[in-house]
Symmetry: C2
Subunit: 708 residues, 2 copies
């Protein structure tokens, strides 16, 4: 095997030559400035710990076969069958089924040393070696888990070439940076059906995430069948809950894909739905109804009531048997204390037990709760509010409020996982998520021993504004960037490389049944109704360059308070949370300005795009007259005309000179500023890039140095 | 309810005023010349027998409810639940589940007089009345079947408006023109999985087709589990067959949607797969293997062997119980007679029994077969080869070879259904299928009594070049045009109206899970591999204007003989069978030329399209260098440059004059002729429209009258 060519985008030659010692990666934090973009790249996501290119490629054709040597079990067999199905879909080739008589040579050989644990454990060996040569593919791994990862890597290597579908020759030695790489889905605010969870677990497997954190109870719903306390799901779910059989099915499905399932029952706050059937557990007398609004609400468990602990002991005992994972999440976040303040008996209890106010009361609750969880053989996980040095050290802190609490927990001897920075519902760009590192910020200064306690991280899909139809597009493809952050070497941090690979992997994810791309189109069709091709394209052109308002401003900009009963059928619900078109336009502007506006090809591309935008509204307006869902974005469509016109004027001036004094710039900037105000809860993304064109003008009307 | 506005596209005011007597429609055959296009139209497909517009519209919101009065049964209940689910999907609204407490007024009331037959029968009453007023929707129907149709009509009425999702006020009285409106799917040449059949039956329900004809055995596969003769499916299917439980499931699924299921076991030819497990039934000694090629093959049952009839008696007895429909299809087509010629014993039998050669032998076989089918309580259906005046009159002739045999059968007293003209695999335009009428051609001269014997028709999806991935795009949306032909008044035949409605209904069909649109995109992504947005769009632009070669020329133009093992992953497999872009371009050219080339807006639109095509190849070529599946269409891409350049030159001359003598025209026409030769089994569709631009030039270089 030759070593002459190195293809891996974002990895320098020097790094690759050092990289066969996989464990050295985590320490290589300073080398990002040395990163070089090498073409052609491997479209792998997450990037493996090491990759060394060989010569030639392995061709996929009807002679393909796969053989297990060494350890074998039903999970591996199933994984190989799924692999063949997926490879067949991805290539459109008819491949022989598993265990067909092998007529020719062995083509892919998978050798696993031994099974992984019956219930998947934190920190099991997930490493693998994948060797692709023109004649054969070898996968070796200590356990099933590594083999599962290797098969996914191979699927990402396969691409179309001048000679058919091939995988390039390469030796990959790979192992994750962090052992806990999770995705949390909130199935309580909006119920998310089983088939949607299954396809998202398929997506997790594809990007090597290994923890599905299932947020199962909330003010807005209690989503699990309890046989001990059936009023919980019967009265707290509107009939939208998972049966225990379904849950066991999903856990088995996840295990087949190397994914642990960690359940969360969020208490003592976030718990209204429990109290619909069991008001006796609450701090206020009730009665309670399922909450329909979004926000932080008052109802909370009564920590002073011994019957509450008896109930939780029985309930957690039942759930501890249903969910085999060693970790059990109890939530613990955002207790506003109002229900406790309002109950004199509870305040008397605080005084009598000399607790430090409501925080002390929650600590009292947490300690008893930890005892119950521990009694049932589990380690407790909680959001960072539960952190207190008097709790046993086996608990795990999930940090949502900031990286400081993660570092603080590690210093105090607690293990932690990072979610701050990974909230998918906030509408951040993939690059912004990608820049967040569990070892960054406050954690960077920890000792090696303390750093060991940082287990990894979890992206979080809170579901105020997602349902079965649009959840995939809120999770994917951005979640792949977070998955890479948690798997790949820390110094992989070039956003350009990440985006290039993310778009390829994102398209591949649709082969798994994920709907992030085609449901976008389908939802636009609903919004457009019976439209001409030109009208529909105009809607698509606009939708492609807007994003929903960020962070928590959707609530703040709503004309009426949102509820769980509001339809999610608007443009703001259909569009991806990050505009690829606007990002690529912005990059083009940067290149153009950086080259002192001399590149006429770039100028022509910018002009064509700006003309398309300027002329788009005229095509869209007839549709806005017919559809209330289009009418809502008509003002934004007119803003697009305005900003595109500014962009064209700036481009004219940059190319040909013109009367563009400071007053002109101020006037153009004012137009752009106005267009950047959210309308219909949408942000018009190209405005900021066009501002860069305006800013590039020198006083004399020629291209100035770019301000970056 | 006002009667002031008539919206129905394609129906004249006069027709509507006459139309409340539904039965009068079938006779109204001369009025198409009086058809008027009225705006805005109702996007209904098939067009109902009569529609009378009211004033205002009915709004769909969270107060929507539906109530059954009169007859009720589980099918109706299920239909209402499916209706609510579909309405919710189509609008994105959260609708209250069936049987929610009705807080406000009744909004939709469905009244059915009585159940239909336990096993759906040919000719049951399928009529319904659907009355939409701003306050309420009333559906009345004699049986479940009419109510099912009414719910589908209502779903087509619902659209987005300035005020939300609404259905326009209207009174529709509807009944089908023909009682047998079928879709045949060949699941034998390529196995088609259950879920694909289910979604296609959903599509049939949406366009009011009522017979699923299941072509279950062929040279290439035997697809049904037989418990009496398990070697049939075990040895004749490569493991790709339906279990009897699955079949019962599909029949129940179809019944819930008002669709009968007619099985076909094609004998005595088309039967190689039977003989793999049962060579003793064949006319030659065997052994036999499953056929992998396409075509007409020699193996055939031995009609002289009494054991064959004993076998068929037992087999048909088993299948007659499995398939409850009264009709049982025995195929009977394309027996080439070679196996009979080659067997001296069979030839001796023909002489001994004084049969008229092989045709006489097949008639002998058919008579005995008819006896068996009849003994098991069924009426026999056969392709038109089985027609013979000595057979009993209860058989049904399915005409695939031409309309003459349908008329001939009717004259002889046989019932018949038309499939000639409805072969979906031949790649005809929807308009060409739409123009074929079961009462047209030879049938037009039949007596009223003879006409009664023409039961309707069936579209046929033969599966040489279709699989689970692309079958939907070969069936839909064109099948909706055939469905309309079989349901709607005969004088509905304006292709412009049909296309306008078909595109709207076609998009709606994706809500049912049909994949004709998004699998096209997905297959192009596979062909493109890791492509830039610009490269992918260039591939799409080319793919949008090519069609597969027509009729049976795909075999003739293949570089190697096609087999069932060949991948269907090429551009020719991915594209729709009819190019909407090319058709709409051609219509634009017609309009432009008809207006003596004076319409500058049209000229600008034509020019923009031609420039896009001319410049497309430069964007596509880098991809053609990387993907073998794109490389295959590189020559066609260059042809698109050539024809677009001719188009631009012609447009220049038409707009501005120029040196365009006969020599010039001949030269341009030669380029267009050359580009119309198939390459990569693709036809470049815009070439013929561009020819019209060239032809529009007068000798002096100005716009001549269009030759149509």
């Amino acid at each position: 095997m030759g070593k002459s060519k190195v293809w891996l985008r974002g990895l320098s030659l020097m790094m690759l030559s050092l990289s066969l010692n996989v464990s050295s990666w985590a320490q290589e934090t300073q080398s990002s400035s040395r990163q070089t973009l090498l073409q052609p790249e491997l479209n792998l996501m997450p990037v493996p710990a090491s990759a060394q290119m060989g010569s030639g490629s392995f061709k996929i054709d009807s002679s393909f076969n796969v053989t297990l040597t060494g350890h074998s079990d039903t999970r591996l067999e199933g994984a190989l069958q799924r692999f063949l199905d997926r490879l067949g879909k991805q290539t459109g080739l008819l491949l022989p089924p598993l265990h067909s008589p092998t007529l020719g040579k062995l083509r892919m050989v998978v050798r696993v040393d031994h099974d992984s644990k019956p219930v998947q454990e934190l920190g099991e060996d997930e490493s693998y070696t994948l060797e692709v040569t023109p004649g054969r593919v070898n996968i070796t791994a200590p356990t099933d888990l590594g083999a599962l990862h290797a098969l996914q890597t191979f699927l990402q290597l396969v691409g179309v070439s001048p000679d058919g579908f091939v995988a390039p020759a390469v030796i990959i030695k790979d192992t994750p940076r962090f052992p806990w790489r999770g995705l949390m889905i909130d199935v309580a605010r909006h119920f998310i059906p089983m088939e949607v969870l299954r396809r998202n677990i398929d997506g997790m497997e594809a990007v090597k995430m290994n923890v599905f954190h299932w947020h199962l109870s909330e003010n807005q719903g209690f989503r699990v069948e309890s046989r001990k306390f059936p009023k919980l799901h019967q009265m707290g779910s509107d009939g939208l809950y998972y049966t225990q059989d379904e849950i066991r099915g999903l856990i088995a499905y996840a295990r087949e894909r190397g994914v642990r399932v960690v359940p969360e029952f969020d208490i003592p706050g976030h718990s209204t739905a429990w109290f619909v059937g069991h008001p006796e557990l609450a701090s206020a007398p009730g009665p309670f109804t399922i909450e329909r609004r979004w926000g932080v609400f008052d109802p909370a468990f009564d920590p002073t009531n011994e019957k509450v602990y008896k109930f939780l002991d029985e309930f957690i005992g039942e759930m501890a048997k249903l969910f085999p994972d060693h970790f059990f999440h109890v939530g613990g976040d955002e207790v506003n204390g109002k229900a406790w303040d309002a109950n004199p008996k509870i305040q008397e209890f605080i005084r009598a037990h000399d607790l430090k106010g409501n925080a002390g009361l929650q600590l009292y609750f947490n300690k008893k709760l930890q005892g119950i969880v521990s009694k049932h053989g589990k380690s407790m996980v909680g959001w960072d509010e539960v952190l207190d040095p008097t709790l046993p050290k086996d608990i795990v802190i999930q940090s949502w409020r900031g990286q400081a609490s993660l570092a603080e927990a590690a210093k105090q001897g607690y293990r932690g996982i990072l979610s701050n920075g990974y909230y998918l519902d906030l509408g951040w760009s993939a690059a912004r998520h990608y820049a967040v590192d569990p070892m960054g910020d406050a954690s960077a200064g920890l000792s090696a021993e303390e750093k060991q306690r940082i287990l990894g991280g979890e992206s979080c899909m809170w579901s105020e504004y997602v349902n079965a139809e649009n959840i995939d597009s809120r999770i994917w493809p951005r979640n792949a960037a977070i998955a890479e952050r948690l798997w790949s070497p820390q110094d992989m941090r070039d956003p350009a490389s990440m985006y290039a690979r993310m778009h390829v992997i994102g398209a591949q994810l649709e082969w798994l049944g994920l709907t992030h791309q085609h449901n976008y189109t389908r939802m636009l069709h609903r919004i457009a109704g019976a439209a001409s091709a030109e009208e529909f394209n105009a809607l698509r052109t606009l939708a492609d360059v807007v994003e929903p308002v960020k962070d928590y401003t959707r609530e703040q900009t709503a004309t009426e308070p949102a509820t769980s009963e509001m339809p999610l059928n608007r443009v703001v619900d259909a569009i991806p949370l990050e505009s690829r078109t606007a990002r690529e336009f912005s990059e083009m502007v940067d290149k153009y300005v950086a080259a002192s506006c001399h590149d006429t090809t770039l100028a022509a591309q910018l002009r064509a795009q700006l003309i398309l935008w300027r002329d788009n509204d005229a095509k869209l307006q007839p549709l806005a007259q017919r559809s209330f869902l289009v009418k809502e974005v008509a003002a934004t469509s007119q803003d697009l005309v305005a900003v595109a016109s500014v962009g064209l004027a700036a481009l004219d001036a940059l190319e040909h000179g013109g009367n563009t004094d400071e007053a002109w710039k101020a006037q153009q900037s004012a137009v752009l500023q106005e267009a950047q105000k959210p309308k219909g809860q949408l942000l018009l993304m190209p405005a900021s890039a066009i501002q860069k064109l305006v800013d590039a003008m020198s006083a004399g009307g020629s291209c100035a140095a770019a301000k970056s």
